[in-house]
Amino acid sequence: MYPRLTLLCLPVVLLALVVSGVLLGSLDLQTALEAGPGILTDLRLSRVLVAVLAGAGLGLAGAMIQGVVRNPLASPDVIGVTTGAGAAATALLLVFPDIAFSWMIPSAISGALLTMALMLWLIRHQGLNPARLVLTGVALSAWLAAITDWLLVSHPFQVNAALVWLTGSLWGRGWDHVAVLLPWFLILVPLTLVMALKLDLLALGDETAEGLGADVRNTRKWALLLSVALAAVSVAVCGAVSFVGLISPHLARLLVGGTHRRLLPATAMIGAVLVLLADILARTLAPPVELPAGVLTSLIGAPYFLFLLTRYRGW
């Protein structure tokens, strides 16, 4: 394991993907350039940046939740937070079809926070036991998905946009979305990185962490809040691109180890790489048809989750 070297290589991989993301598309490069620079900068570059931000957000959210509950099976989607964000945002999208996009983010965050609160209330007597967390999450997700379906069926005229958004797609994402996302990320990501050492200490158990000077209750509260907010912001802009929050921290841990000072930046970059890769494939596999990126991440992510379940020994 060469954690430092890996940490230096990741940005290179990410940059290479950003460049390919701009150059590749349903139109070949020459035609795209002849049509004017608009296609590359206005359409592709902005969309690539949205993918990078959302992927980083989902990855970080997953790493934070896994750190807080000391459970490698946790992630914003597994515990239902993304479904909650999705349900709230869908409701907004369907009830006020003409609302400005910037409203999606607060609505997704409140949906996610409500879900988290509900989850914590449901497991209040058992603590953050892994199996209970996952099972409660499954039930909660199913319930929230049912609410979302019900909303969709009762608003047939606005269904299309909502459906594409719900599966997790970067279709039609542009500079407006970057502008809305960026301020949130500039606040949330540094706050996340500042928690690195406290998350390290939390991994040693509550008593050891407290003994080493980490305020366990506050650390846990803030890390959960940041994680939920990051997941919600990402989901608000590109829908529920599933399993990125679960897989990215795992890959990062394999590459750079479990120290959060390295793990968090690595997870953010891997999350960005995954979503970007999924989007590039989604655009180029079968043009002009465009697959939602979320379909691709689920196709790969769900089997990986099953694999983790078979190996997990901590029940």
Binding site: D200, A203, E207, G258
Partner: protein
């Protein structure tokens, strides 16, 4: 002024009172063993001193200052705790683990300075783990793992060290090794409070015994003063004889 002073301390889990109006003084520079039957409140006392638990009433004073009114990080520079079951995280080397001992001193971001790294190296050498330092902590055996945790506490550079049943999961050879290591730390000037189950080990390796029963102080004093037939009978409800240890001369309990 006593070094560590427990004043009128009452601690409860919900309705259940574990410690009741306990008064106790711990002497600086000594090893004090907390002993007593299961559920007598010895671990609870240790956890309250370490601020894991908040007292319902009363105070814990370290050199005259109330521990429960101080910032967590500041307390972590004065006392270190080895809990009964610390969690060994995945993907962290032994050196990383020992480095966490510097958390209360170093940067809040967790980067270690050259001084910090040197302290980590010394701590690893003192417990004899310097050769294994780059291995994942999860690869260690029980005895090695306990030594790694001790190294972490050494790196924390506190004057007071609290050990909660440090020998529980170890075989007899590793138990003795750990108790000897504890004595070494004490000779370097650390005050140690340790919860032990084995009375003979407590008598042999500790300077003072504190006996608790149902959350109240029964006896405090040197092993010779404390470990008597009557005390074992009244606290543990066990018929026993006390003989001097053939090697060290300290009191040894033999069940009848």
């Amino acid at each position: 002024m006593a070094y560590l002073s427990i004043e009128n301390l009452t601690v409860s889990y919900g309705e259940k009172v574990i410690l009741k109006e306990l008064n106790l003084q711990i002497t600086e520079g000594k090893i004090t063993a907390l002993i007593g039957p299961n559920g007598c409140g010895k671990s609870t006392l240790l956890k309250t001193v370490a601020r894991i638990l908040t007292p319902k009433q009363g105070k814990v004073l370290l050199q005259g200052e109330d521990l429960h009114k101080q910032d967590t990080r500041r307390v972590a520079r004065q006392l270190a705790l080895l809990p009964q079951a610390p969690v060994t995280p995945d993907g962290v080397t032994i050196r990383d683990l020992v480095g966490y001992g510097r958390a209360p001193w170093g940067s809040r971001w967790g980067r270690l300075s050259d001084d910090d790294r040197q302290i980590v190296q010394q701590s690893l050498e003192q417990v004899g783990l310097e050769e294994l330092a780059e291995l994942p902590a999860t690869d260690l055996s029980g005895g090695q793992r306990q030594r790694a945790w001790i190294a972490m506490i050494l790196a924390q550079k506190t004057d007071l060290v609290l050990l909660d049943e440090p020998t529980t999961w170890l075989d007899i050879a590793h138990q003795i090794e750990l108790l000897k290591l504890m004595r070494e730390l004490n000779q370097e000037g650390k005050t140690i409070v340790v919860v032990l189950h084995d009375l003979n080990q407590a008598c042999r390796y500790c300077d003072e015994l504190v006996v608790l029963k149902q959350g109240a102080l029964q006896r405090q004093g040197s092993p010779e003063q404390v470990l008597t037939q009557q005390l074992v009978q009244s606290v543990f409800e066990l018929d026993a004889q006390i003989h001097p240890d053939p090697v060290a001369g300290t009191p040894t309990l033999v069940a009848v």
